[in-house]
């Protein structure tokens, strides 16, 4: 072997060895940057790529017959990735493939596909499952889809003020969605789990095995509402409000025997599928949050209290002078012109003519403390405990603050301010043999019931029966629309002046229950500030009461009692 060549060889081998070493050192440096310093933060990106939330669904909200009022819906979003367009499929051809599935005009898709400034183009949101399957089958690499869950309210506005809404985006809710939220929500929020490429969960030391394998759907909630009754109430209420150009209104239908709310219509309402478009005033259930003087409908409670406390009996007569002045406060009957001085009137006459002076006189006969306690027992001045949010306690002044005038006006519903639900539950107590039951909209199982629904004997059953008889008598005699064709009805109208707009606006209401022989259904109708028609409960609220009562009687198949006149 040639010595020089040998030397030359060795030198070159060493140079190449050196070069290879250098590239290996460079590689190691790059590896150090990647692995130890993580310059591109691939570690976080990796966790994000592997992680995904468990698809947990909320339970449904059903009416008492199983009709869905709220449910979870899966929709799809379709994206395009401009970086992955292949020359084989330019946007024009892609659009051709996608147009039928997306139900979008081809040109619109092309223009969307061609917007190249972003990496991901959202082609369409809320794509149905069928369309998504079609797109999935076409196997386009540059198109991807995401699953989005959405709370969906199949009945639209129906019962929106009760059911409320839930937003997955902000985890926000009102109404039943809020009060029953714990149950509706999937029992455990497993958070995000790292997964294998095929979707299996990666179990490592930190994985809570029990959590991730649990069923990811919340409980269904059944309401006491009857969607059909609810529908009638909402439709009729809205019609009446539009006829009378009123501001707002509410209709509550309660089963007096167990406190279940069968319908709770409140106007204005909103579309929970687009809750973000609804004004605040429409989203709140005003009949639950706002208070107002109940007016003459309160006389039922006054008379019941007086009877129960033994101050009066069924056949007592009370003085009615047509008008009276207490502490410079004038109390007048609304029919003062027709009947200037009725004299002593019976209790059924009091109801029939809605005598303010008579009711004030009864109130003055009662002891302040006893009267207050009874009212408190009836549920005024405190929450009824209905399973809805933002309930007001109303306004029932303490007896030590009762001046004589307030004591008197309390009798015909001006001294206290109430919510609609307080009013209907109090009257339901009278209908239900004196037993007050917490009104509720969620149907509870026998086990849960005692925790959510309280009952208390407010007045004796005899008193309740007496009041029922008196009311039925007053209705049967008059020619009021409250006198139903099929049922003997106990009802009372009411009108109270609003303390705004110079007292020109009024709340008109009608409350009642039927059949009088065996009370089953209580209905309360209240309309706020009607602008047309006569400003009395009798003419604004009564026709609505009549319509709803008739329909409810038919829908719930309540037997007629008109022939068996044994009241």
């Amino acid at each position: 072997m040639d010595k020089d060549l040998n030397e030359k060889c060795n030198k070159r081998i060493c140079i190449i060895q050196g070069l290879v070493t250098v590239v290996f050192v460079l590689l190691t440096g790059w590896l150090f940057l990647l692995q130890v310093l993580d310059i591109n933060s691939y570690k976080v990106e990796g966790i994000a790529t592997r992680s995904s939330n468990n698809l947990s669904l909320r339970g449904n909200i059903l009416d008492r017959n199983g009709i869905k009022l709220a449910t979870d819906e899966l929709t799809y979003e379709v994206y395009a990735h401009p970086l992955m367009y292949s020359p084989k499929r330019p946007p024009e051809i892609l659009a051709e493939i996608l147009a039928p599935a997306l139900e979008m005009p081809r040109d619109e898709i092309i223009s969307k596909l061609k917007s190249k400034k972003i990496n991901i183009i959202t082609l369409k949101k809320e794509v149905s499952r069928q369309s998504a399957e079609k797109i999935g089958k076409s196997g386009l690499r540059e198109i991807s889809m995401g699953t989005i869950k959405r709370r969906f309210y199949p009945q639209g506005n129906i019962a929106s003020n009760i059911v409320g809404f839930y937003s997955y985006m902000s985890d926000n809710s009102i109404g039943i969605e809020n009060t029953a939220g714990d149950k509706l929500q999937s029992p455990v929020n497993t958070g995000s789990v790292q997964r294998k490429a095929n979707g299996d969960i990666i179990f490592d030391f930190n994985t809570d095995v029990q959590n991730v394998t649990k069923k990811q759907k919340g409980e269904d909630i059944t309401l006491t509402l009857d969607a059909s009754v609810q529908y009638i109430c909402e439709k009729e209420l809205e019609k009446r409000i539009k006829e009378t150009k009123a501001e707002r209104g509410a209709v509550i239908v309660e089963d007096v025997t167990n406190g279940e709310i069968l319908a709770y219509a409140s106007y204005p309402n909103f579309n929970p599928n687009k809750f973000w478009e609804a004004p605040m005033a429409a989203m709140k259930n005003w009949s639950l949050t706002d208070i107002y003087p109940p007016g003459s409908t309160f006389k039922i409670i006054t008379v019941a209290t007086a009877l129960d406390l033994g101050v009066l009996n069924e056949y007592s007569k009370v003085p009615d002078t047509g008008k009276m002045v207490i502490d410079r406060y004038k109390i007048t009957n609304h029919d003062l012109k027709e009947r200037p001085n009725p004299g002593m009137i019976t209790l059924d006459e009091l109801f029939e003519h809605s005598s303010n002076v008579g009711a004030a006189n009864i109130a003055l006969m009662l002891d302040k403390e006893a009267y207050y306690n009874k009212l408190y027992e009836f549920g005024f001045g405190r929450e009824t405990g209905i399973d809805l949010t933002a309930e007001s306690i109303g306004m029932l002044p303490k007896p030590k603050n009762w001046y004589k005038s307030r004591h008197a006006t309390m009798g015909y519903g001006y001294g206290a301010s109430v919510t609609a639900i307080q009013m209907v539950s109090a009257v339901s107590a009278v209908a239900n043999g004196g037993v007050w039951i917490t009104p509720h909209v969620i149907k509870y199982s026998a086990k849960e019931l005692p925790n959510h629904v309280q009952t208390r004997q407010v007045v004796s059953p005899e008193t309740a029966k007496t009041v029922t008889r008196l009311l039925a008598k007053s209705i049967a005699r008059g020619k009021t629309p409250l006198n139903l064709d099929k049922y003997t009805t106990c009802a009372k109208t009411g009108t109270s002046r609003k303390q705004v707009n110079n007292g020109r606006d009024v709340y008109t209401s009608a409350i009642g229950y039927f059949p009088a022989t065996n009370p089953k259904i209580a209905i309360y109708v209240v309309i706020d500030s009607p602008k047309t028609g006569v400003d009395f409960g009798g003419t604004i609220a009564s026709p609505l009461f009549r319509k709803i009562a008739t329909e409810v009687g038919t829908l719930l198949n309540i037997p007629s009692d008109k022939d068996s006149n044994n009241v």
């Binding site: 072997m1 010595k3 040998n6 590689l27 790059w30 570690k43």
Partner: protein, 387 residues
Amino acid sequence: MYKDGYQPVKTEGDKEILITTIILVVIGLMAVVSASLPMCVAKHLPPFHYVLKHLIWIVLGGFGLWFLSRFDYNNLRKFTFSFVFLVIILLLLVKFTPLGVEINGARRWLNLGFRFQPSELSKPALIMLLASLFSLKKEVFKAALPKYLLTAGLMIFVVLKQPNLSMTLILLGITFCMYICSGKSMKPIYIGLAVMLCLLGMIKTNIIDISNYVESYQIERFLNWHSSGTDTQGGGYQVFHSLIAISSGGIFGCGYGGGKEKLGWLPEAHTDFIFSVISEEIGFVGSLFIILLFLTILYRGTNIALKSPNMYGRLLAFGITLSITMQAFFNISVATSFLPATGITLPFISYGGSSLAVSMSMIGILINISKVKLARVARITGKRYEK
């Protein structure tokens, strides 16, 4: 004849390179266990399906190593041409007969009851061919040049047409380096580089349409190199997940068997991207250790080459060393997105039997070469090596 005071001496053979190889093979076996187990379970195969196959290849490779370390490498010279033609025939069999198996758009495997990749054999074949060629005396060299170059060119062309661009590049790299090391004139190298630059310029200015010569996916891969962050679903998917795996490892890794990217996310986790799996599980420490092991092979191999008493042994040893280290470098570079993606295995470690067996056999040749080395010897005690 030899450097002053240096004489060829018979030795036991290089222990270090043997130990390094064994360590690499053991690491490879463990890595294949970790990377292939979840895949086998997902595919409903027996859990140790790939591990057992890997073990069989280790045994075969071990036999090759043992045999070739005892078989005098100077005798390999006689078999050079028959071996090269055998390889070419096998390559043609892959390309043109139903025995060839196509995976992921490349027809590289031969199905003889077991899968075998003949292009792996083209490495030792080319090294043997070139070592024979370049160790020829000047006068003979010119006469023999066309015959040798044609044969080598044919083999490289068939490999390129498989298509197997990465192997072609390695083969060309080996040719290039071995030519330089043979101490021949540098003129052809300079001319070659100039031609390459011209070609590149022409491609850049679209005078030559590159798509006529290389497969479309090869261009795509090149374009996706270092834009992997943006195209995470398509061509850059593999590299993206490989980078995730490597970065997730951190300094000490998440522990053996604890890697998450191998669970279906990283394709080819047990073969081409096994380095990513090791990086994720053992961390930077593990990656560094593997790189150091390959550097050890580079240094020991070079050492053997430098101390080989004849030119053939020297070129053979350096060619083998280079082919192993270059392949390792390419593989790790691809996994770390240091270079564009190519499908190439990590020697000794990746699952892929033929690569393992061929690499181990080549180490056998290296050890055989190291058995006779030049050493500074005292004339009295030194045992003369007589050819």
